[in-house]
Symmetry: C2
């Protein structure tokens, strides 16, 4: 057997501890599959005394992760600290600059600095792998980089945030409102105390920016992602979605358009019969549409210590077995800087819910506002009747440009008979 692969772990939180457990419990299997043993030579974390349930006595302890990253005995630095900048960035840069392979689970880091770091890795001839950064245990990076590499990708989309999907699923199943379900998700640990990264779409946008680059060979452009979260989704909208044959999912979607690369994260109405609509709870799923493979969907757990460790160690096995593919599928120096397609140029169908005064002429005013912006109505539902309260009116449109839809919504919001700001959810044809 070849000499072992010596790794250093920077960060010993949930994923770090999971990775140590995996390396220990599957050590023989990993040696068989990677052709050499994987040995944890060094570790670094904030608190040395904390009990992590794993024996760290054989590994050298570094208080300074950046110092560990350049240690000459280490082959691979595994960055599990997190955060787009700060220590994580320092550690990864130092490791790459010193010719160490890097494996990271850090989506924020890759979303913000992916292109630069991949170019640094390439210049140094080392691997920069980040399977764990996107969709946890689902090997989507390898699938795009290698498994489906023969294809020109037309579109990639998916459920990239388990917390949001859990909340939307539970809202639908229990017919409750967002804030109540969020509170419950926080109690059971599916949502964090500060849930904004998850429910405001930022986490999904980090992952989408990475996916986009691997799928289309473009520089990572997190700033180019249009982001909208799920806070404004109400039980009423979920009910109407069901009535119209849809489910509401927070999706990340990317594709090349004539205006550049379109990247967007927002709640979508998707046909209930599509595969992605049936991915429920904390599960993630990613659909890849290739010119030869057709539609390939992968689903599984997108977070958690064990699934994320599975991805981290898969990257380590590639390094152990000397299997290399460029971080973003093509040489980093050749990644193209395509413009971001502005959201105003997006074309699609829309679901609109208004709360209106229940009296004759209201629908005529709304219809006129749509007509004036050349937005074509597809269906309208006004079910409840009440002379004293606001009643919901739901509309769906044919495909139109987002800019026109926004102008029409501004007109509609100005109508005196429309009592609340209009709610708009994009209808996605998948």
């Amino acid at each position: 057997m070849k000499p072992p692969l010596k790794i250093a772990l920077a960060g010993l939180g949930t994923v770090g501890a999971g990775t140590l457990r995996l390396l220990r419990s599957n050590a023989d299997l990993l040696a068989g599959r990677g052709g050499k043993r994987i040995v944890v030579g060094a570790v670094s974390a904030r608190d040395r005394r904390k009990d992590r349930g794993v024996d760290l006595s054989a590994a050298r302890w570094f208080a300074d992760a950046a110092a560990m990253a350049v240690d000459p005995e280490i082959d691979v630095v595994v960055e599990l600290i997190g955060g787009a900048n700060g220590v994580a960035l320092d550690v990864v840069k130092a490791a790459l600059a010193h010719g160490k392979h890097v494996v990271t689970a850090n989506k924020a880091l890759m979303a913000h600095h992916g292109t630069e770091l991949a170019r640094l890795a390439e210049a140094k001839g080392v691997a920069l792998a980040f399977e764990a950064a996107v969709a946890g245990g689902i090997p989507i990076m390898k699938t795009l980089r290698e498994g489906l590499a023969a294809n020109r990708i037309a579109r990639v989309y998916g459920i990239l945030n388990g917390t949001s999907n859990f909340i939307l699923t539970t809202m639908r199943e229990s017919r409750r409102e967002f804030s109540e379900v969020l509170g419950e998700a926080q109690e059971v640990g599916y949502a964090e105390a500060d849930p904004s990264f998850d429910i405001d779409g930022v986490d999904a946008a980090h992952k989408l920016a990475i996916l986009t680059s691997v799928a289309f060979g473009t520089e990572v452009d997190f700033a180019g992602v249009y982001v909208e979260g799920i806070r404004h989704i109400s039980a009423l909208d979920i009910e109407y979605a069901a009535e119209l044959g849809f489910r509401i999912k927070l999706l990340g979607l990317a594709r090349p358009t004539e205006h550049g690369i379109e990247q967007r994260v927002h709640p979508c109405m998707v046909q209930r019969t599509t595969p992605i609509a049936n991915v429920e709870g904390v599960f993630n799923a990613i659909m890849v549409e290739g010119d030869f493979c057709g539609r390939i969907m992968l689903q599984g757990r997108g977070a958690g210590a064990e699934p994320t460790a599975s991805a981290v160690v898969a990257d380590l096995l590639d390094i152990a077995a000397e299997r290399r593919s460029p971080s973003f599928a093509v040489a980093a120096r050749t990644l193209s800087a395509l413009p971001a397609s502005p959201m105003e140029r997006h074309r699609g169908a829309y679901y609109i819910r208004l709360m209106v005064v229940d009296r004759p002429g209201v629908i005529a005013d709304v219809a006129a506002a749509l007509r004036d912006e050349q937005v074509s109505m597809e269906a309208m539902i006004q079910r409840g009747r009440s002379p004293t309260e606001a009643v919901p009116v739901v509309l769906t449109t044919h495909e139109t440009e987002e800019a026109a839809m926004r102008r029409a919504l501004a007109r509609i919001a100005d109508l005196s008979t429309v009592l609340e700001p209009p709610r708009m959810i994009r209808i996605e044809s998948l």
Copy 2:
């Protein structure tokens, strides 16, 4: 750029032509991802004059595929002839023996000779890749070999035959009988003129035998696969399945048990809410249950020229980029020869449908037969009443051993009040 990868194509049927189309239409993209161009240096097929819609003038023509396989100018032989033996086997053996990499889409060949061929490839230090042999465009080989390689696999199962899944889906949706739907599938080209490989489970068993080896590190053991097809599934059973909350799917399932490796292909009753139950029509899907990744499902098109070409060329890109993993995830010489767990030792729940005389005491006789073999009944439905005709009685059992179930069924079949051979479908908890 590095010198090109020179390939030879043996077999120019549907998949061969699809592969040529892919190599031409995505040539630039492939060069970017593989680091070198892929050039078709030679081709071989039965009929030279047939118009395949692709320009072959730049490739040398060989009437003898085995002679082409040993040509010194060729780096990789792509075997798309098909069949477990004969020319396909000769070509692959000759290529490997002469130190050529081999890519094949031939599931029968790999199911029958996989271990031997992988050992030959390993001895010669060349790649033997067969992504296209299992589930067409779904990159399940790479996923098991690399993407999920950190995991100990507890079970792998899936819908491995699109024709059978199409027939079962259509039977359910249209409430028609097997033979009628098969005829329709043959008309639209989803089933072959001789459909037995597909509908009798042989094709799925070939794929399962390959999957098993990659998942569990065992020698390929096609003979050890228990195989049962879908010919005996009736519209009545599909109706009862729906009533019980199930769908009927032809699955291939493999897992290690205390008696050895269990490999089986047969119709299964699966809960309608499981992800696999919702994979419909010609689609394939494979579920991998790993100790760290949890449940990962891949779905997509399992057949057709384009998806299969996507898989063939993915293998070529791995060779071009010098990414190598052992054919069956671990060194072929270390594949273990575990015994096949006999089907009689399988434990599971069962669905039984009987056609009985409608008179008092019939159920008591059936219940006594089950009791005498220690099979525990879970539910019973006898809905229709008819004094003159056979009426259906449906039973489900708790988990029991297959041997006991078979003995109980033999007793039941012997009852004078039971008018047709009992129908048995295994209930799978997924």
